[in-house]
Amino acid sequence: MANKMKIRAWIDNGKTTVKAIIFHPMETGLRKDKSSGKPIPAHYITEVSCEHNGKAILGCLWGPGVSKNPFFSFRFSGAKTGDTLKISWLDNQGQNGSSETKIS
């Protein structure tokens, strides 16, 4: 699942800021295909989990109201430079992906 996510994480004043974008269509299931008039099936991320060195720090539960290619950001404490931050996601069609980055 390469190229499906971008993560940046850095420490400033002892706090780690994380910014991430997951590339995903986030279809609500309410939109119609303009040429055929058929509804486009819902396809959106339901769960995202963020782990710092294997310990869960943030869990996201999402609905179709989150924008396409979701961006999100949060802050946490207790990390060191070089620690691993892993973000993994699961969507309503059972697809999933994950990506890791080193905290700088």
């Binding site: 609500t28 720090i57 869990g59 539960l61 109201g65 924008s67 979701p70 946490f76």
Partner: protein
């Protein structure tokens, strides 16, 4: 009297056992992802969605919760919203857009390490309030911000 007390104790014990069972199975501990609350995400009205998510629709307005969002959003498909709170022991931050077909947009489960801050981008069908509900120390606190949407972002 005594008999009543026995019954009460027995009832309490059964409830306790149930709680342990659900604790082991469905409900994961704080900081780890809980099961996706389908009922809350499928609810079509704001108070019902909150009740399905948090078990109560009673939330106190609080100055300690701040919602940052644009006054006017030209494109309702991408509205950046930040929720910041200075409350201690934040367990959960949820964002609702009451005019959307499904008001509950996202729910963030916080851990001990995370701060009371979250930013994400949401869809908005039309001009509305964005409501943030923060669960801290077992209580619900809320704040809202009105966002004017010029172009709706939920398809159609």
């Amino acid at each position: 009297m005594l008999k009543q007390r026995r019954t009460f104790l027995r009832a309490g014990m059964t409830a306790g056992t149930l709680a342990v069972a659900t604790g082991a199975g469905l409900l994961t501990p704080r900081g780890v992802l809980a099961a996706w609350p389908e009922k809350a995400f499928k609810a079509q009205k704001y108070p019902a969605a909150l009740e399905a998510l948090a078990g109560s629709a009673e939330a106190t307005n609080s100055d300690a919760v701040k919602v940052k969002a644009p006054d006017i959003a030209e494109n309702g498909a991408v509205v950046s919203v930040s929720v910041t709170t200075s409350l201690p022991k934040v367990e959960n931050i949820s964002v609702f857009v009451p005019v959307n077909s499904f008001p509950l947009s996202a729910s963030f489960e916080m851990s001990d390490a995370t701060e009371g801050f979250i930013t994400a981008r949401f869809k908005m069908a039309k001009t509305s309030d964005v409501i943030a509900v923060v669960k801290a120390d077992g209580k619900l606190y809320t704040a809202k911000k009105s966002v004017k949407v010029t172009l709706g972002g939920c398809g159609g």
